[in-house]
Amino acid sequence: MNEPLIDPLVWLILLPLAWATLAFVLGPGRGGWLAIAGLVAQCWLAFNLAQQVSAGVAVVHAVGGWGAPLGIDLAVDGLSAAMLLLTQTVALPLAIYARSYFKASDPAGAGFWPLTGFLIAGMNALFVSADLFNLYVTLELVGLAAVGLVAAGGGAQQVAAALRYLFATLVGSGAYLLGVALIYGVYGTVSIATLLPLVTNEVPRLVWIASALIVSGLILKTALFPFHFWLPPAHGGAPAPVSALLSALVVKASFYLILRLWLGPLQSVLPAFGWLLALLGAAAIFWGSWQAIRAVKLKRLIAYSTVAQLGYLFLIFPLLAAPAALQAAVMQAFAHGLAKAGMFAAAGVLIKATGQDTVAGLAGAVERLPVTMFAFALSGITLMGLPPSSGFLAKWQIIQAALAQGHWIIVVVVLAGGLLAAVYVFRVLRLGFLSTPENVTFTPVSRVLEWSAFALAAASVLLGLRGVELIQLLGART
């Protein structure tokens, strides 16, 4: 294979940084088209990169030409290529959605484009970084951008939610940073590749403390039960495109990092935490679903659904000996990413049309907004894990991995979680199917909004037919 003219790995970071800066210079609310153009290019880059990785090309980039451990290395394997792909493909439809969503004078949209650019750049940088300290900087980039997006132009509730979120994310990255400081103290390096042979089965006690700090910091940022308290107000209170970005992508970034360390430098230490994380994951599934079933507001319901769905990601940790477990995690990240983006986008349309953010206000929505409700239903199918959606494949893989290792309890949790998801999804759908009450009016909503929500939701279902490619990408050995 010829050396590509453009190194997709580096440009996936530079491009969003560039359009974010430019959008800031252009001024509040400007830069939508720029972002969309940038994201189109990024999608192409991410596909290109995934193809290279699938073909077995090792993609490593030594920033500054120094190489680890003196410099910082960027490295891409199947896992990171998949996450990059997910990020770009979810962000593009959401950008199109957001451009119609925010009116020119909307204060909530004032900083949207630059903040989103920094957010995506931060995530892309996180997925490719092979340096623990550099990962800390990217974590902060992602966290602060996300907080800014939640708070932008909001009222007291949003600002309070943003503060809660800010403290959670800062404590999380603080714990992570202390963990990294300890690791540097023990080994004298923060490069993942250099650490890999150094961290053996006989590690000093300090590495255990460091690992515990890193994992607890990251599960706080991933909103794993019982650290989920910040998520529902933040994701439920932000404008719909922001909620979609945060729920679909941002929480996955810190989860990815746990997975990366688990499979990489800390593989001899972290598996000790496997069942603890799975237990919290199971608790998240039940607690999140239960709260979603009781929620009054529509977006609250969807946010609690995120709490529940994140639980599945953590069920895989005791199972990682089987390759199906990693595949399940990535499939679930894709399934939830696409479906949740679609669902929040649909909720945004419903809220704009009905003028209220309540589940009870949806009577008649199927009749008036069929495309949007269809999108909601398709997302719901993925979240419930019904076939042929990608959510089903994720659950199938978890169950197979669990059965192969004889862990029946995980099978039961997965299946029960699917049923609970059905309860809260159909809570919304059945109201939508009611005849329209006479005194209710629906405000007309832009078709761009409806169809971009639909595209995301449909993609979450159709991805269920392309599972083989994703698994090939994950299995690629570079």
Partner: protein, 504 residues
């Protein structure tokens, strides 16, 4: 892609694509929607005929697609599947015609026909599924696409019925999925095969296989409406008449029964199932359902509810036939799958006609209906007599085979179950017929919507479908020995399932 792969896909596409297009049509475009519906139904019938011809000649129509390594969506037209697919395709055409007449000038028709088409697509997929995973995919699609039809009216009552329907079917689906994953884990695949695949596992797996069987049958038993999993069926009666007709006669309950047939014959293998002692409990389960359904039907005044409990009872005839070890019982069960479909759809069409034309919803309102609507009542009578197993009807044929099957399997008690059920059938159908034909016409009908025009007692699109299916009921009963009947096809299947045994 060869034509052997294309035809099964085309069978799916012939209702999926029209369904998707119809969703996008405005409600007012009656002409476009109607022609699309009718042409799709006729086109599908043509495709099914092509398949039927090919399968009879032993050709191999099938297509596979891997969604994960080791997990394939696989469609295959085999003799058993063709029985169900032909039934569905034929009845779909008539139900479509009926639904066009029934929904005239009512709101949300595009949505209705869209989901209606999805529902049929799911049924086609269920028929052609070549492994349990594919079966499950379409089984759940069926659940999802029938929910909007059940709640179509958008009332609180409809919503309650729909919610109960969902609760039952999703729980059942989860049980089914558990069984499938477990089996897939043990075997590494779930492909259907004559004489089954489960026997390949050693005797040490007998315990696990029994639990899996229970899970699978529980999952399928929900849609089959076997007692005590039948609670949704009477509640789902809030749906419009064409939906009830489709749900009860073809799609939903039959999907469950058909699944049980697949499980017993092609996953476990009937011999292996017998050796695991699974068939007797299944037969008892079915018998209880048969008697209980009939008993409950006796006390329903709501016409559609009475028919619903009758369905509960009749569908389990199929399961009973399957559970009677031996080819004769198999033939009885399979042929009843078709016959019950034709008869029950006739009854539901007629019930819909009474409600649409005269506003009759209850048995107690049926007085004199036969004089006002003689043709509908004639069709209803044929269907009802068929259900009782009266001579010359399709019901007589299937009951005769089932009784012979029970005797051949030395399960004499099953004969008593069948006779009891027949008596109860008579007890709840004959009063209706008596009221309709022999009681005087009331002063006013509850709510007369459609006035009489000469011989046309109601809209012709409502009248034609029940008359055709009633005629088919008689034809299947009188011509049962010819080569082109469901009975002949059921014999062909039984031959293939009981390899090496003589089939009468």
């Amino acid at each position: 892609m060869t034509s052997y792969e294309l035809v099964p896909l085309a069978v799916l596409a012939s209702s999926l694509l029209p369904g998707l297009i119809i969703f996008a049509l405005p409600d007012g475009w009656v002409g476009v929607r109607t022609s699309l519906n009718v042409f799709a139904a006729i086109g599908k019938l043509g495709l099914v005929a092509l398949l039927l011809d090919g399968v009879a000649a032993g050709e191999n129509y099938g297509v596979r697609y891997a969604v994960l390594p080791g997990l394939e969506l696989s469609l295959q037209a085999d003799a058993l599947g063709m029985l169900f697919i032909t039934l569905s395709a034929v009845l779909w055409l008539f139900t479509t015609l009926y639904a066009i007449g029934y929904l005239e000038d009512k709101p949300r028709r595009s949505r209705f026909f869209g989901f209606f088409n999805l529902c049929v697509t799911a049924t086609m997929g269920i028929s052609m599924a070549a492994n349990l995973f594919t079966f499950f995919v379409f089984y759940e699609l069926l659940t999802l696409s029938t929910f909007p039809l059940v709640v179509h009216r958008g009332t609180d009552k409809a919503m309650k019925g729909g919610t109960i329907y969902l609760a039952y079917t999703l729980l059942g689906g989860t049980a089914l999925l558990t069984g499938i994953v477990w089996l897939h884990h043990l075997l590494g695949h779930t492909e259907f095969a004559h004489a089954g695949i489960a026997a390949a596992l050693g005797p040490e797996y007998a315990g696990q296989l029994k639990i899996i069987f229970l899970l699978l049958i529980t999952g399928l038993g929900v849609k089959t409406a076997m007692v005590p999993l039948h609670g949704w069926l009477p509640q789902a009666m809030v749906a419009p008449a064409p939906v009830s007709a489709l749900l009860h006669a073809v799609a939903v309950v039959k999907a469950g029964a058909f699944g049980i047939v697949r499980i017993v014959y092609e996953v476990y293998g009937v011999e292996f199932a017998q050796s695991l002692e699974l068939l007797l409990p299944l037969a008892i389960f079915a018998s209880v359902t048969i008697v209980w359904g009939s008993l409950r039907a006796l006390f329903q005044d709501d016409l559609k509810k009475r028919l619903a409990f009758s369905t509960v009872s009749q569908v389990s005839y199929i399961v009973l036939g399957v559970a009677l070890f031996g080819p004769i019982g198999t033939i009885g069960g399979l042929v009843h799958l078709v016959h019950q479909g034709i008869m029950k759809i006739t009854l539901f069409f007629c019930a819909g006609n009474y409600a649409e034309t005269l506003g009759i919803h209850k048995v107690s309102e049926m007085d004199g209906a036969g004089r006002r609507m003689p043709l509908t009542t004639l069709a209803f009578s044929i269907g009802a007599l068929g259900m009782m197993g009266a001579p010359l009807t399709a019901g007589a044929v299937s009951k005769a085979w089932l009784i012979d099957g029970a005797l051949a399997a030395s399960m004499d008690w099953a004969v008593w179950v069948l006779w009891t059920s027949s008596l109860l059938n008579a007890a709840y159908f004959l009063p209706i017929l008596w009221r309709a034909w022999f009681r005087p016409v009331p002063v006013a009908w509850p709510e007369e919507h459609i006035p009489r025009h000469g011989w046309r007692e109601t809209a012709w699109l409502l009248l034609l479908p029940p008359l055709v299916t009633a005629a088919a009921t008689l034809a299947a009963g009188t011509l049962s020995d010819s080569d082109v009947t469901p009975l002949a096809w059921a014999k062909l299947i039984a031959e293939r399932e009981y390899v090496g045994r003589s089939v009468p």
